[in-house]
C-alpha cells in the first residue's frame, strides 16, 4: 500500500506509520493539548481519543458505541461468512454479550488460571535457561512469543507444539490487518483448523474450553456451532499477540533501564506492582467501536457508523490521570490503568495474561538477572490493534 506522509496528526494520523508504531507517546501528548479527539480518513476513517476521561467514557457507553466491529481496520467483503457469529463476546452487544461472556469467564477465573501456572513457569524457566546458556538471544522471538500460544493451547485443548502455527495465524489477522489478502488467508486457516477441532470434540469431549462450550445449554438450547467457533477463535486471537507483546515490552524496558532491572532483581516482591506499571506504560491493545447513534463527545460530532478507536494505550499516558505519565515509576502504587479495557468488555482473559506476564518476568530475572540490548542488532515494533516489540536482541551479562 502506498503511504503518504502524515501532515497533521489531528486530521490525518496513521496508526500503522512506522514512527508512530515505534513511539506513539509524543503524538498523543501533542494531540491532548491541541485536539484530544483526532480524526483520520485513513483505513476507512476513524476517531482517536487520547484522554483517559474520553476513552473510558466511550468504553462505558455501550448504548452509543457498539462492539459489532472491534477491528482497528474495517472488514472487507472477503470477511463475510467465515465467522458467521463473529467473535463473541468481544464482537457483540448485550444481551448476546451477557450470556456469551458468562460462558467464557469461568475459564479465566483465579482458580482455573492457577491450574496453568505450573506448566507456564516450567516453560518460562526452560526458555530463559536456553538463552542464559548461550549468552545471547532474542527476548521477543525466543521467549515472549513462545509463551502465550502454548498456554492458550492448553485452554483450548489443542497441541502446544503447534504454537508457531497459531502465532503465525494470529499475526496474519492482527499485525497484518491492513493487508487484506494476508489477513484473510491466516483467518481462513485458523477457522478451518478450529472447525475440525469442534467436530472431533462432539464425539470425544475433553477437559477444555471448546468441549465445554459444545456441551453447555443456554435457555435449554445447545450453543450453536458458529458461536463455539467464534469464541474459540477469539480465545486464540486475543490470547496470543496481546500477552506476547506485554511480555516483550516489559523485557525491552528492563533491558534499557538497568536501574529498574536491578531493583526488581533485588526486590522480587515488587514484581507484581511493576507488572501493573509496565502494563500501563506499554499497553498493547487498541480496540474499536462503531457509533450506534449520533453522539457528540468533547465537541466532536460522531455519526452513526463511524469507527472510534478505544486508545487505551494513550489513556494510560494521560497526565490528568497519572502524575509523570510518560515516566515508568516501577513502584507506582496508585494505578487505575485500563490496559485491559474498562466496562462490560473488560478483557475476559486478564487473570491469565497477568499470570503469564508475572511468571515470565520472574523466571527471566531468575535465569538472566543481568542483560542489555545487543547494540549490533535492531529492536523492531509492530502496532495497530496490538503494539509490542517483535525482535529484542539481547546479550546476557
Amino acid at each position: 500500500m502506498a503511504k503518504t506522509v502524515v501532515v497533521s496528526f489531528a486530521t490525518d494520523y496513521d496508526i500503522f506509520d512506522p514512527d508512530y508504531v515505534r513511539d506513539p507517546a509524543p503524538m498523543w501528548e501533542q494531540l491532548r493539548s491541541s485536539c484530544p479527539i483526532a480524526h483520520s480518513d485513513r483505513y476507512g476513517g476513524s476517531w482517536l481519543p487520547t484522554r483517559y476521561a474520553d476513552v473510558t467514557a466511550i468504553a462505558h457507553d455501550v448504548e452509543h458505541f457498539s462492539s459489532r466491529n472491534v477491528g482497528v481496520v474495517p472488514p472487507d467483503e472477503l470477511d463475510d461468512g467465515m465467522l458467521p457469529a463473529g467473535l463473541p463476546p468481544i464482537s457483540v452487544d448485550p444481551p448476546l454479550h451477557t450470556w456469551s461472556r458468562r460462558l467464557l469467564l469461568p475459564w479465566f477465573s483465579h482458580t482455573r488460571v492457577a491450574v496453568y501456572e505450573g506448566t507456564t513457569r516450567a516453560l518460562c524457566a526452560q526458555l530463559a535457561e536456553r538463552i542464559a546458556e548461550r549468552g545471547s538471544g532474542d527476548a521477543a522471538v525466543e521467549y515472549a512469543q513462545q509463551i502465550p500460544a502454548r498456554v492458550i493451547a492448553g485452554v483450548l485443548g489443542v497441541p502446544p507444539d503447534l504454537a508457531d502455527t497459531f502465532t503465525g495465524w494470529v499475526r496474519d489477522v492482527l499485525e497484518f490487518a491492513h493487508d487484506a489478502e494476508r489477513r484473510n488467508l491466516g483467518r481462513n486457516e485458523l477457522v478451518a483448523y478450529l472447525m475440525t477441532q469442534i467436530e472431533q470434540r462432539k464425539s470425544a469431549p475433553g477437559d477444555d474450553l471448546i468441549s465445554s462450550l459444545l456441551h453447555t445449554e443456554v435457555d435449554g438450547e445447545p450453543v450453536p456451532d458458529a458461536h463455539v467457533l467464534g469464541t474459540a477463535a477469539l480465545t486464540l486471537i486475543a490470547g496470543v499477540d496481546t500477552t506476547w507483546s506485554s511480555i516483550g515490552s516489559a523485557l525491552w524496558h528492563l533491558a534499557t533501564n538497568p536501574g529498574d532491572r536491578e531493583r526488581l532483581v533485588a526486590e522480587p516482591d515488587l514484581i507484581p506492582v511493576a507488572i501493573e506499571e509496565l502494563l500501563r506504560a506499554y499497553s498493547p491493545v487498541t480496540m474499536a467501536r462503531i457509533v450506534a447513534d449520533d453522539v457528540e463527545v468533547a465537541g466532536c460530532p460522531m455519526k452513526s457508523g463511524d469507527r472510534v478507536l478505544l486508545n487505551f494505550p494513550a489513556a494510560n499516558r494521560d497526565p490528568e490521570q497519572f502524575p509523570e505519565a510518560d515516566q515508568v515509576i516501577i513502584d507506582r502504587s496508585q494505578n487505575r490503568h485500563v490496559a485491559f479495557g474498562v466496562g462490560i468488555h473488560r478483557c475476559a482473559g486478564s487473570n491469565l495474561a497477568r499470570m503469564e506476564l508475572l511468571v515470565a518476568i520472574q523466571e527471566w530475572l531468575k535465569a538472566i538477572p543481568n542483560f542489555s540490548l545487543d547494540s549490533s542488532a535492531d529492536v523492531t515494533w509492530a502496532g495497530g490493534q496490538v503494539r509490542g516489540p517483535r525482535t529484542i536482541p539481547v546479550v546476557v551479562g
Partner: protein, 66 residues
C-alpha cells in the same frame, strides 16, 4: 473502616483481590465482594485504600470511622 463494592460497577478486573485477598473475594465470573461485611481490621487499612485506588471501575468506596 468499612469497604463497599458496587456490584454494578465491578467488571471483574480483580485488582482488589490481588492486592488484598484478606479483604475481598471474587467468584468465577470475577465479581468482587467485600469479606466480613466490609469491616477492615486496623492492620489492613492501608491495603483497603490501595485496593480502592487501583480499581479501574471506581467500584470500591470506603467509609472511614468517625
Amino acid at each position: 473502616m468499612r469497604i463497599i463494592v458496587d456490584p454494578d460497577r465491578c467488571q471483574g478486573h480483580s485488582r482488589c483481590y490481588s492486592l488484598a485477598p484478606m479483604l475481598f473475594d471474587v467468584d468465577d465470573y470475577g465479581q468482587s465482594t467485600a469479606l466480613n461485611d466490609g469491616l477492615v481490621p486496623d492492620e489492613h487499612v492501608v491495603l483497603a485504600r490501595l485496593a480502592m485506588q487501583n480499581c479501574p471501575e471506581m467500584a470500591i468506596s470506603i467509609i472511614e470511622d468517625q
